[in-house]
């Protein structure tokens, strides 16, 4: 009786450990920000900046318009990946102007003159390139490749004749 009781007790104790995958989840801890959140916000901010420059400065309109289009594509791809990784936690946005638009960095510079606007665009793409490049060395393959393309695209804008 005693022996079998011990055996039964052992099985009882071992059971939950073996089936630990089915046990209730521990209380949620505060989640760290997804490393793609900042590049996504930056891309959205750059879209706003580039659209403002394109509207204010005709000489920069083509370059700024092309930059806005590429950064919009970056924002959409990064939001898609953020949403895939954590469904329901991040609102997807295909068009930053359709929801609360983030304040563009350096908006005060844009209004002043064309050279200031050009400088603001170059600073924006170089900052975006640097941020994405830093993440390329540490993130898993798919995300690293996505950010590598973002960095390379931003680098190619920075050297185009209108901005360089």
């Amino acid at each position: 009786m005693l022996a079998s009781g011990v055996v039964a007790g052992t099985l009882f104790v071992a059971g939950p450990a073996v089936l630990s995958g089915c046990s209730p989840a521990p209380p949620a801890l505060p989640e760290e920000a997804d490393p793609l959140a900042s590049p996504a916000e930056r891309a959205e901010s750059d879209v706003v900046l580039a659209r403002l420059v394109a509207a204010e400065h005709p000489a920069l309109a083509i370059a700024a318009g092309a930059l806005a289009a590429d950064r919009q594509a970056h924002a959409s791809a990064l939001r898609t990946e953020l949403h895939r990784a954590r469904p329901g936690t991040i609102p997807s946005s295909s068009n930053p102007s359709s929801f609360n638009p983030p304040m563009a960095r350096d908006t005060t510079t844009i209004i002043i003159d064309q050279d200031g606007a050009r400088d603001a665009l170059v600073r924006a793409v170089r900052s975006a390139q640097d941020e994405a490049a830093a993440l390329v060395t540490i993130l898993p393959g798919y995300r690293a490749a996505l950010l590598a393309s973002v960095a390379a695209c931003c680098a190619s804008h920075a050297v185009l004749p209108v901005l360089s």
Partner: protein, 160 residues
């Protein structure tokens, strides 16, 4: 795309000393092809583009040599250059030479992006591959500008 023997798909993605051989060999092959392509394109490009051509060709030669060293250091025989490559169209004037240059850079961008996607997060290797991808994207945009084609950039250089 410029075609060569090593474009064939092979299963698996073995790594030696954390070097993704299966991704690095196509990157080396793309660099061989780019060096060859610039040799051909140079015969047709305008003199005003000679500086850009020399710079691009030198970048690819340096990257080819560095990639060969990476493979040799990993104990792997680097793929050799082909005697010649099949171009997507005949190259017989400045316009087709510019398109060849853009094709070579597009192929190189794809190969280096693949290295990033298929390699461990090892900073030196990822950085080298990102440099290859970035240089190819920048050169491709410069050649598109020279060719007068638009848009000058693509949002995701190297992406399939």
């Amino acid at each position: 795309m410029l075609c060569c023997r090593c474009c064939r798909d092979r299963p698996g993605n073995p790594t030696v000393n954390r070097v993704p051989i299966e991704a690095l060999q196509p990157a080396l092959a793309a660099e061989h092809a780019a060096v060859w392509a610039y040799g051909l394109a140079g015969a047709f490009l305008a003199e005003t583009l000679a500086g850009q051509l020399a710079e691009a060709a030198a970048e690819h030669r340096a990257r080819r040599d560095a990639t060969e060293r990476m493979l040799i250091d990993a104990g792997v025989l680097p793929v050799p250059a082909e005697p010649g490559y099949r171009t997507p169209e005949p190259v017989n004037d400045a316009a087709s030479a510019l398109r060849l240059a853009i094709t070579a850079e597009t192929d190189a961008a794809a190969a280096w992006r693949s290295v990033i996607e298929n390699s461990p997060a090892e900073p030196a290797l990822r950085k080298a591959a990102l440099d290859g991808l970035t240089a190819a994207a920048v050169q491709a945009a410069s050649w598109r500008a020279a060719a007068g084609s638009t848009p000058l950039t693509v949002p995701f250089p190297g992406a399939p």
